[in-house]
C-alpha cells in the first residue's frame, strides 16, 4: 500500500480498540518469566557452549602477540577465536568500528578474542588466561583539543535527524550584530551510555552454511544484512530471532560484537554458542551517545521577536563516523528570519559514538532550551510567552512548507495551567522549603516524525483467530499490544482474538524499533496487510469488497451479515502487504511537539538537586494506546532526569577510555529519584502521517527534559549551569548564602 494522500476516514477511526488503554498483551509472559530473551532460548537450542569476549586493554594500538596456549589448556575450553583465525571479515554498513579487532586495535574494549567453553564459568576463567601483548599507539582522546581544528561535517543520525555541515537562511551575522538584545552562550553535554537492563546477548547456531541468531536487537532487517555482509555470506543464509528485547535505547540498532563473536565462535566450535557482553565491557565495547560542545546565539528585538538564531555543535567519533546531529531541531523549532546551524566533527579514538534515544534532539534541546530560557529572562519575558511569540507554523527556511500538525503553543498553555506555572516566581532563588531551594522550569519538546516502509502478514485461522507476523521488535515499548489493537480494529474483533508474533527475520520486514518510528509505521504495515485480508475475506464470503464492514466478529454489507470465522472454515486466509510512503513527509514537515514542566529542590547546604514533580504535555498525532504511550513518556522523562543530573561517561584522556564502565560508576536514576510524574496527550490526529494518523512519542518524552530540569535549578538557585550533568559541584560555591 502506498500512502500518498492524507488519510480519509477509515476503520481505525472507530477507535473501539485502537486509542484505548490496554495492558500489554505480553505482560503476563514477562511477569511470569516465560518471555524468552536472547540468552534464554534453552528449548530451541540445546547443547550450547558458552562464549566470553575478551576486550582490548588499550584504547589505541596494535597487538604484538597473542598467547593462547594457557587458555586453550584451561578446563572445559572448546575453542578460541581471534582475528588471526576468524577468516576474512567484512564490515556492516551501519557500524563504524570493526567488531573484532586485531592486529590493529581501534578502541578500548574492542573485542579481540572470544573464548568458548562448556560452562560460562570456564569460559570466563579461561578468558582471563588469554595473554595479549599490545603496542600502545598515540590515540586522539581529547575532544576539546581536537575540536579546535575539526572540519564542518554534515550527517544523519540514522534515526530521523540530519543536518548539512552548515545551514543558512538570511544573513545571520548581520542580523545578530544589529539585534538590540543578544545571547551568546556555550553548553556542553557529556558522553552517555544506554545502560539498558539486558546486555547485548546472542545465541548462534549453524546448520551447514545457514546461520540462526537468537539475539537482542531492535532492527532485524538491518542486522540480517550487516551480519551477512560481515561474514561474506548471502543474506538468505542468515536468520535473526529477537522476540523480546530488554531495552535498547538505540544501543541495539546495529550489529554488535555479541552477535558476530557468537557466530564466529559457533562456527569454530561446530556447535551453538551463547554469549552476553559482560556489563563492564558494555560502555566501551558498544556505542554511546557522543559528547557535544555547543554554542547558541540568539538576537531579538526588544518585544521578544527573534531576528537571528544560530546553533553550532561539535562532537567526535572514530574515523568514518558521524557527528551528533544536535542542531537539527534549531532549523525548525522557532521563527526568525536569519539563521545559522552547523556541525563540526573531530576524529577520536574513543569507542564508537552512535544513536541513543533521540540522537540529535536530546543533546541539542538540552542546550537550545536553556538558551531560550536565558533569552526570555534577558527580555524580561515569561519563557512560555517568549516561545509563543516565536512560534512558527511553517518551515522557517521554506515558508510554503507547513507543519502537518503543530500544537506547541497548546502544549505550553495546557501544561502551564495543569502545573500551576502562574505560581512560579520569575526572579530566581525566591522560594524556600526548609533547607531546599525550590524552582520551576519549562522547556519545549520537539522530535521529528519519521516514516519508514513496514510490512506485515496477517492470517485468519479456522479458529477465528487473527495472527499477525512481522519482524518488528518490541523493546519494552508495547509493539505487541498496539499491533494487536490495529489488527483487532481492522478485523472487527476483540483484542483476545489476535495473536502477534514478532522479531523473526522470516516474517515480513518492518520499520523496526528506532527513532520513535516503530509504533506508527509498524501498525501502518499491519493496517495494509489487514486491508488485503479484508479483501480476501470479502471475496471468500461473496461480498463486494468496497462496502463491507467488519465489526463484532461479523462481516456486513447492506442487510447481509456473516461471521468472520466462516471465511476461514475451509482453510486459513492470508493478507500480506507493506506500507510505503509517498511525498507527504516532504510536502509537510511532520514533527511531534510537547512541553516539559519540572519542579526541583536544591539542597542549600550540599547543592544536591532532587526532582519534586514533572509534567509532560505531548502532541504527537493519534495515541494508539494511552497506557503504553504513557509508559514510554515517563520512561523518557526519567532518562531525561538522568541526563540532567547524573549520567556521564567519564573520559580518561591518557588511556583513552570511559572510566566508569559499570552501573556503580555510571549512575542512572533509581525510584527514589523519580517522584510524581504526569503525562497529558493532546487529542490530535495527523492525517498526513499514515492511515493510523499516528506519530512517534517515545523519544519526544526525552527531548527537552534536561533543559527543563536545568531551568528549574536556575529558578531555584539563581546560578546558571550550562554543563551537564548538573552535579552539585557545578554550583555549590555560588549558591545563595545559607541564612
Amino acid at each position: 500500500m502506498k500512502f500518498e494522500t492524507p488519510a480519509q476516514t477509515n476503520p481505525i477511526d472507530r477507535l473501539k480498540v485502537v486509542g484505548q488503554a490496554h495492558d500489554r498483551i505480553d505482560g503476563p509472559l514477562k511477569t511470569s518469566g516465560l518471555a524468552t530473551y536472547a540468552y534464554e532460548h534453552h528449548r530451541e537450542v540445546p547443547n550450547v557452549a558458552y562464549g566470553y569476549v575478551v576486550g582490548s586493554a588499550v584504547g589505541k594500538g596494535r597487538i604484538k602477540s597473542l598467547g593462547l596456549d594457557e587458555a586453550r589448556r584451561a578446563p572445559g575450553v572448546v575453542t578460541i577465536v581471534t582475528a588471526q583465525d576468524a577468516g576474512p571479515l567484512g564490515k556492516g554498513d551501519r557500524n563504524t568500528a570493526k567488531l573484532l579487532g586485531g592486529p590493529e586495535v581501534d578502541h578500548y574494549h574492542q573485542a579481540v578474542a572470544v573464548v568458548v567453553a562448556e560452562t560460562f564459568e570456564q569460559a570466563r576463567a579461561a578468558a582471563a588466561l588469554v595473554r595479549v601483548d599490545y603496542e600502545r599507539g598515540d590515540g586522539r582522546f581529547d575532544l576539546d583539543e581536537l575540536l579546535k581544528t575539526a572540519p564542518l561535517t554534515g550527517g544523519d543520525s540514522q534515526e530521523g535527524s540530519g543536518s548539512s555541515p552548515e545551514h543558512r537562511v538570511g544573513k545571520f551575522e548581520e542580523a545578530f550584530g544589529a539585534a538590540p538584545v543578544k545571547l551568546d552562550q556555550r553548553y556542553t553535554t557529556p558522553d552517555q551510555s544506554h545502560a539498558m537492563m539486558e546486555p547485548h546477548a546472542t545465541i548462534a547456531a549453524w546448520q551447514g552454511d545457514e546461520l540462526t541468531l537468537w539475539t537482542s536487537n531492535q532492527m532485524i532487517a538491518w542486522n540480517k544484512a550487516d551480519m551477512a555482509k560481515t561474514l561474506g555470506i548471502p543474506k538468505e543464509k542468515v536468520r535473526l530471532i529477537s522476540p523480546y528485547v530488554g531495552g535498547g535505547f538505540g544501543g541495539k540498532l546495529f550489529l554488535r560484537a555479541d552477535a558476530l563473536m557468537a557466530a564466529l565462535a559457533a562456527r569454530a566450535a561446530k556447535r551453538p554458542v551463547k554469549l552476553a557482553l559482560q556489563r563492564p565491557l558494555m560502555a566501551n565495547n558498544t556505542t554511546h551517545r557522543p559528547a557535544t560542545r555547543q554554542r547558541v546565539r540568539i538576537g531579538a528585538t526588544k518585544d521578544g521577536t527573534i531576528t537571528a538564531i544560530a546553533h553550532e555543535s561539535g562532537s567526535g567519533d572514530l574515523e568514518n563516523g558521524g557527528p551528533e546531529t544536535a542542531v537539527n531541531q534549531t532549523e525548525l523549532l522557532y521563527a526568525g528570519a536569519n539563521r545559522l546551524t552547523s556541525m563540526r566533527l573531530a576524529v577520536l579514538d574513543l569507542p564508537e559514538g552512535n544513536a541513543m534515544r533521540a540522537p540529535g534532539e536530546a543533546p541539542g534541546m538540552m542546550a537550545l532550551e536553556i538558551a531560550i530560557d536565558e533569552m526570555a529572562e534577558q527580555l524580561g519575558m515569561d519563557p512560555i510567552a517568549f516561545r509563543i511569540k516565536n512560534d512558527t507554523q511553517v518551515d522557517p527556511k521554506t515558508p510554503t512548507r507547513k507543519f502537518s500538525e503543530r500544537n506547541l503553543i497548546r502544549c505550553m498553555q495546557e501544561g502551564a495551567e495543569r502545573f500551576g506555572w502562574d505560581k512560579r516566581r520569575a526572579k530566581p532563588a525566591q522560594v524556600r522549603d526548609g533547607r531546599w531551594l525550590v524552582g520551576m522550569g519549562v522547556a519545549a519538546a520537539f522530535r521529528n516524525h519519521v516514516s519508514r516502509p513496514s510490512g506485515a502478514r496477517v492470517r485468519l485461522g479456522r479458529d477465528g483467530v487473527v495472527t499477525v507476523e512481522s519482524d518488528m521488535t518490541d523493546i519494552g515499548t508495547g509493539s505487541y499490544t498496539i499491533m494487536a489493537q490495529t489488527a483487532a480494529e481492522m478485523m472487527g474483533l476483540p483484542l483476545d482474538k489476535v495473536v502477534v508474533k514478532l522479531g523473526d527475520s522470516s516474517f515480513p520486514a518492518s520499520a523496526g524499533s528506532g527513532g520513535q518510528w516503530g509504533a506508527a509505521n509498524a501498525t501502518s504495515g499491519v493496517y495494509a496487510a489487514c486491508v488485503k485480508l479484508r479483501e480476501a475475506v470479502a471475496q471468500r464470503l461473496g461480498f463486494n469488497a468496497a462496502d463491507v464492514a467488519f465489526e463484532d466478529g461479523q462481516v456486513r454489507s447492506g442487510n447481509r451479515a456473516l461471521p468472520l470465522t466462516q471465511a476461514a472454515q475451509d482453510g486459513e486466509l492470508l493478507g500480506e502487504d507493506r506500507i510505503e510512503f509517498g511525498k507527504l513527509g516532504k510536502t509537510f514537515q511532520q514533527s511531534t511537539f510537547g512541553a516539559h514542566f519540572v519542579e526541583v529542590g536544591v539542597d542549600a547546604y550540599t547543592g544536591v538537586t532532587r526532582v519534586r514533580r514533572m509534567l509532560a504535555v505531548c502532541a504527537a498525532g493519534r495515541i494508539l494506546n494511552p497506557q503504553t504511550a504513557r509508559s514510554q513518556v515517563i520512561g523518557a522523562m526519567t532518562m531525561g532526569v538522568g541526563g540532567a543530573l547524573m549520567e556521564e561517561l567519564a573520559v580518561d584522556t591518557r588511556f583513552g577510555f570511559f572510566v566508569n564502565h559499570d552501573l556503580a560508576g555510571y549512575e542512572v536514576p533509581v525510584h527514589a529519584d523519580i517522584p510524581h510524574q504526569e503525562v497529558i496527550f493532546l487529542d490530535e490526529a495527523d492525517a498526513t502521517a499514515n492511515p493510523l494518523k499516528a506519530k512517534g512519542v517515545g523519544e519526544l518524552g526525552l527531548c527537552g527534559v534536561g533543559a527543563a530540569v536545568a531551568n528549574a535549578i536556575y529558578n531555584a538557585t539563581g546560578v546558571r549551569v550550562r554543563d551537564y550533568p548538573i552535579t552539585l559541584e557545578k554550583h555549590l560555591e555560588r549558591l545563595p548564602s545559607i541564612a
Partner: protein
C-alpha cells in the same frame, strides 16, 4: 574466577588457622568478595565459610554497651531496637548504604572489610598499586571525582566506601578478633583501617588469619545523632561525602566523615572545634588535604554538609 577449595568452619580458632595459610580467605556474606573473584581481582585458592560460627547475635556488654556479632547482617543490625534507640547514628548510616537486598546478605565484619570502589582498582587493565603493588596509581591524574582528598599518598587516593564504618568511627566502636593461636584482642576502630602510604594493598591492621568475631559499641552517649550522606542520586549510590555527627545540646560533639579518605575519617581537633561551628570543625578535619582538580569541591562540601547537620541538630 579461579578454582578454589571450600570449607565450612565449625570453630573460630580452627577457621583462623585455616585462613592463615597463603591464598586463604574468609567468606561471610560474599557481597563484595564474590564480585571481585569473578573478575579475578580477588583470587583466593581456599575459602573458609564462617557462617556457622554463631557470631550472629547482638548482646549487651557488662559496661552498658552493645556487642554486635561479626555475622549480624546489616539489615538485622540496623533494625535492632537497642541499636535504633541507643545508637541511631549507626542505623541511619547502615540503611544509607547499598540496597535492601545487599544489606540482607552483608555482614558487620564484611562491611568493615569491603574494598575500595575506585574505578581504576576495578579495571584490571589499569595500573593500581592496591590491586597490583608497584604498578602505579591510575586514578592520580585520571578520573578522581569520587576519590580521597585527605590522608592519601602518591601511591593511592582510594576511599573506603562504607557508611556503617563511618558511624562506628564516630561511636568509638572496637573490633574484636581471635587469631590462629586462639588469642583475642580488641582493636579500636581508629586503628583498624590503615592509610595507604606506600603499601595501599594492606588495608587493615589484622594479622594473618585473624578473624573478626564482633564489633562492640561503648555505652550510649546520647546527643542528636545525624548521618548525612551526599550522593548524586537519592538511593543506591556511594557517598560523594558523608558526615556522621553526634551533637550534644551544648553544641559540643564529635564528627566522622566518609568519602574523603582511605578510612573513615575523624580528627580529635575537629571534635574539639565542633562547638565553634562547621567552618572550624571542617577546617580541622581536612587540614593538610590534597585534593585533585576533580574532587577539590569535597573541601567546601564537607563544611557545608556539616553546617547542615549542625543546623538540623539545633532544630531538633
Amino acid at each position: 574466577m579461579k578454582a578454589f577449595t571450600y570449607e565450612r568452619a565449625k570453630d573460630p580458632v580452627a577457621a583462623a588457622r585455616a585462613a592463615a595459610r597463603p591464598g586463604a580467605k574468609f567468606l561471610a556474606g560474599g557481597t563484595n568478595l564474590l564480585d571481585l573473584m569473578k573478575i579475578e581481582i580477588e583470587a583466593p585458592t581456599h575459602l573458609i565459610d564462617v557462617q556457622d560460627l554463631g557470631f550472629d547475635k547482638i548482646e549487651p556488654t557488662p559496661d552498658g554497651g552493645l556487642r554486635i556479632g561479626a555475622l549480624v547482617t546489616n539489615t538485622a543490625m540496623a533494625a535492632d531496637q537497642r541499636v535504633r534507640r541507643d545508637y541511631p547514628l549507626l542505623t541511619r548510616a547502615t540503611v544509607a548504604g547499598a540496597s535492601g537486598q545487599l544489606r540482607n546478605k552483608a555482614t558487620t565484619a564484611g562491611n568493615l572489610l569491603q574494598r575500595t570502589r575506585c574505578p581504576y582498582f576495578y579495571d584490571p587493565n589499569m595500573p593500581c598499586n592496591k590491586r597490583k603493588p608497584g604498578s602505579g596509581c591510575g586514578a592520580l591524574g585520571g578520573y578522581s571525582r569520587q576519590l580521597a582528598v585527605v590522608g592519601s599518598s602518591e601511591a593511592c587516593i582510594a576511599t573506603h566506601p562504607s557508611d556503617m564504618a563511618v558511624a562506628m568511627r564516630a561511636l568509638d566502636a572496637v573490633v574484636e578478633t581471635v587469631n590462629p593461636q586462639g588469642r583475642t584482642r580488641a582493636i579500636p576502630i581508629a586503628e583498624f583501617h590503615r592509610l595507604p602510604g606506600d603499601t595501599p594493598h594492606i588495608e587493615t591492621t589484622l594479622t594473618a588469619g585473624e578473624l573478626i568475631t564482633a564489633v562492640t559499641l561503648p555505652k550510649p552517649i546520647g546527643g542528636t545523632q545525624i548521618y548525612e550522606k551526599v550522593r548524586d542520586r537519592a538511593s543506591y549510590a556511594f557517598a560523594v561525602v558523608s558526615v556522621a555527627a553526634v551533637i550534644q545540646s551544648d553544641g559540643s560533639g564529635r564528627v566522622a566523615v566518609g568519602g574523603v579518605a582511605h578510612k573513615p575519617w575523624r580528627v580529635d581537633a575537629a571534635d574539639a572545634a565542633m562547638s565553634r561551628g562547621a567552618k572550624a570543625a571542617a577546617g580541622e578535619l581536612l587540614a593538610g588535604a590534597k585534593p585533585t582538580q576533580d574532587n577539590a569541591f569535597k573541601i567546601p562540601l564537607v563544611e557545608r554538609t556539616l553546617a547542615g547537620v549542625m543546623a538540623q541538630a539545633r532544630a531538633a
